[in-house]
Amino acid sequence: MTASNLRVFEMHAGTPSTSAAAATAIENRVVRVSPLKPNSRTARAATAVARGIVNAIPALIVVVLLLLVWEMASSGPKASLPSPSKIWLEARDLITQPFFVYGPQDIGLGWRILTSLQRVAIGFALAAMVGIMLGALVGQSQWAMRGLDPLFQVLRTVPPLAWLPISLAAFRDSVPSAIFVIFITSIWPIIINTAVGIRNIPQDYRNVAAVLQLNSYEFFRRIMVPAAAPYIFTGLRIGVGLSWLAIVAAEMLTGGVGIGFFIWDAWNSSKLPDIVVALVYIGLVGFCLDRAIAALGGLATRGTAAA
C-alpha cells in the first residue's frame, strides 16, 4: 500500500501539481477497483454451483453402481424381481409422464402423489395446530403435564395402522379415516418437542415477560413460540416424516386414488415395475417434505440460534 502511494507521488513530482492532485490520483485508483465487486459476486455463485456439483458426484457414482449391481443380479432367467432395464421398458410412461389422465383409475403418479399429499397436508396441519397448543399447555403447566403426559406416552407407541379400524368405524368413510391416521401419527412428536422447548425457555426471558407484564397471549406469541421454535420445528420435521409413512400404509387399506393404493393395486395385478417406480416417487417426495420443513424451520429460527 505504502509502496503504491509513493509511486503516485513520484509520478506527480515533476509537475507543478501539489499533494491534492496526488490524493485525487489515489482516489481514482481506489474507485477503479470497485467495479470488480459484482464480478466477484457472480464468481462466488459460480464456485458455489461448482462445489454443489462436486458434492453430488459421489452420490451419483453410488447410484450408478447400485443400478449396475441390481441389473446384474436380476438379469438371470429365474430372477423374481425386475431389473432396471425391464422397469424402464415396462413402466416408461409412469416415469416420463407423471401427469397423464387416461381414465378415472388410470392416471399418472404425479396426480396420485398430489392426492396423497393433500391428505397429508390436512392431517399434518391439524396435528401441527393441536400439537403445538397441547405441547404449550403441557410445557407451561405442571398439572397438565402430570395429567396428560402418561396418556401421551402410552398412546404415542400405538402403531399408525392400529388406529385405522377404529377411525373407519367412527368416520364411516375412507378419506377422513386416512386423514385421522395422519393426524394421530404425527401429533405425538409435535406435542412432546413443543413441551420440551417450552420447559427449556430460559428464566431470563420469563423475567423479562414478567417485568413487562405480558399477558398470556402476548407471552405465547412474543416469547414462547420464538423461544421454542427450534424444538417445535424438530417435532414438525419428525411428524411430517411419520405422516408420509402412515399415508402410504393407510391408503393401501382404504383404497381410492392415492399412491398407497396404487402400490396395492399394482401388486394385485402383478406389475412389479410399477411398484418400484412408485417407491422411488415416495422416497423423493418424503425427502422433499423433510427438507421443506427443515428450510421453513431454518427461516423461522434465524435469530434464535444466535443467542
Binding site: Y205, N207, A210, A307
Partner: protein, 283 residues
C-alpha cells in the same frame, strides 16, 4: 426532548415537599424452602431510598444481593416484612421497576429496536401514538448511543452493546426505580468503564432513582450516592451504609485526587475484606 440537569434538582425539591422516601424496604426476611430444609437468605433488611438517589448494594457472592433486587423487582415474594414503592406494596413485577439483567436478557429473535419497542409498546401502548412510540424507542437507543445498530440482532453485536440495549429497554419504560443486577459484571474492563460513564451521564441528565448490585468497589464509589454493604449469608443483613459525598459530575481520572474518594474506597474495602471476609461456602 428532556431538558438536561433540571430533573435532579426537581427531584430534591419534591423530596423536601413530600418528605417521604420513594422506596421503603421494611424489615424484610427472605427464606427459600427446598424439600424439607429452609435456607434463610435475608434477615431483617431495612432500607429507604429517596427519589433520584443512586444506591449500590455490595457484598460477597452468595450474600443475597440479587435476592434483594429480585424482591424489589417483585420477581420473588418476601417471607416477612414489606416493600413499599410510593406507599404501595410491591408484590408483583412491573415496568415501574425496570430491571437491567446481568446477562442482558435481550430476546435474540428481535432486533435491538424491536427489543426496546416491545417494552415501549407494552408500557405506552395506550397513552402514546405509534409515531410517538417510534420516536421514544429511537430516543432511548440514542441515549445509550445505539441508534446506529437498531436493526442488529443481539447475536450480531458485542456484549457491551447488548448491555446498552438492555439499559435502553429499561430506561424506555420510564421506571420509578431502575434496578441493575451487576450490569457490567460480564464485560471487559475497558467496555465496563465506558458503560459506567454512559450510565453516570444518563443519571445526571434524567435524575433516575437507581439500585445497582455490584461486587466492584471502584464502580460502587464512582457511581453511587450511597453504598449499602451486606454481611455474608446465610441470613445476610445490611452491615453498613456509606454516604459517598463526592461532588458530581464525577470523573474517574480526577476522582483519585479528590480527598473523600480514597476514604470511601477504604471504608468499603475494610468492610468487605477485614470485618466480613468472604468465607468459601462449605457444601
Amino acid at each position: 426532548m428532556i431538558a438536561p440537569v433540571t430533573p435532579r434538582a426537581h427531584a430534591y425539591a419534591q423530596k423536601t415537599l413530600l418528605d417521604r422516601p420513594l422506596l421503603r424496604i421494611d424489615h424484610v426476611d427472605k427464606s427459600f424452602r427446598r424439600g424439607g430444609t429452609t435456607t434463610e437468605v435475608l434477615k431483617d433488611v431495612s432500607l429507604t431510598i429517596e427519589k433520584g438517589e443512586y444506591v449500590s448494594i455490595i457484598g460477597h457472592s452468595g450474600c443475597g444481593k440479587s435476592t434483594l433486587l429480585n424482591l424489589v423487582a417483585g420477581l420473588i415474594q418476601v417471607s416477612a416484612g414489606g416493600i413499599l414503592l410510593e406507599d404501595r406494596e410491591v408484590n408483583a413485577p412491573g415496568p415501574d421497576r425496570a430491571v437491567v439483567f446481568q446477562n442482558h436478557s435481550l430476546l435474540p429473535w428481535l432486533t435491538a429496536y424491536d427489543n426496546v419497542r416491545l417494552a415501549v409498546d407494552k408500557v405506552f401502548g395506550a397513552t402514546k401514538s405509534r409515531a410517538e412510540r417510534h420516536g421514544w424507542t429511537m430516543h432511548n437507543l440514542d441515549l445509550v448511543q445505539m441508534g446506529h445498530a437498531k436493526d442488529k440482532r443481539p447475536g450480531e453485536i458485542s456484549g457491551g452493546m447488548k448491555q446498552r440495549v438492555g439499559i435502553a429497554r429499561a430506561l424506555a419504560m420510564e421506571p420509578k426505580v431502575l434496578l441493575m443486577d451487576e450490569p457490567f459484571g460480564a464485560l471487559d474492563a475497558l467496555t465496563r468503564a465506558y458503560l459506567q460513564d454512559t450510565v453516570m451521564q444518563i443519571h445526571t441528565r434524567l435524575g433516575n432513582t437507581v439500585i445497582m448490585i455490584t461486587h466492584d468497589v471502584d464502580e460502587a464509589v464512582l457511581l453511587s450516592d450511597r453504598i449499602v454493604m451486606m454481611t455474608n449469608g446465610p441470613a445476610a443483613r445490611i452491615g453498613e451504609v456509606l454516604d459517598v459525598k463526592l461532588p458530581r459530575p464525577r470523573n474517574r481520572i480526577e476522582l483519585a485526587s479528590v480527598p473523600g474518594y480514597l476514604a470511601a474506597r477504604e471504608a468499603v474495602l475494610k468492610f468487605l475484606y477485614e470485618r466480613h471476609r468472604y468465607v468459601e461456602a462449605v457444601a
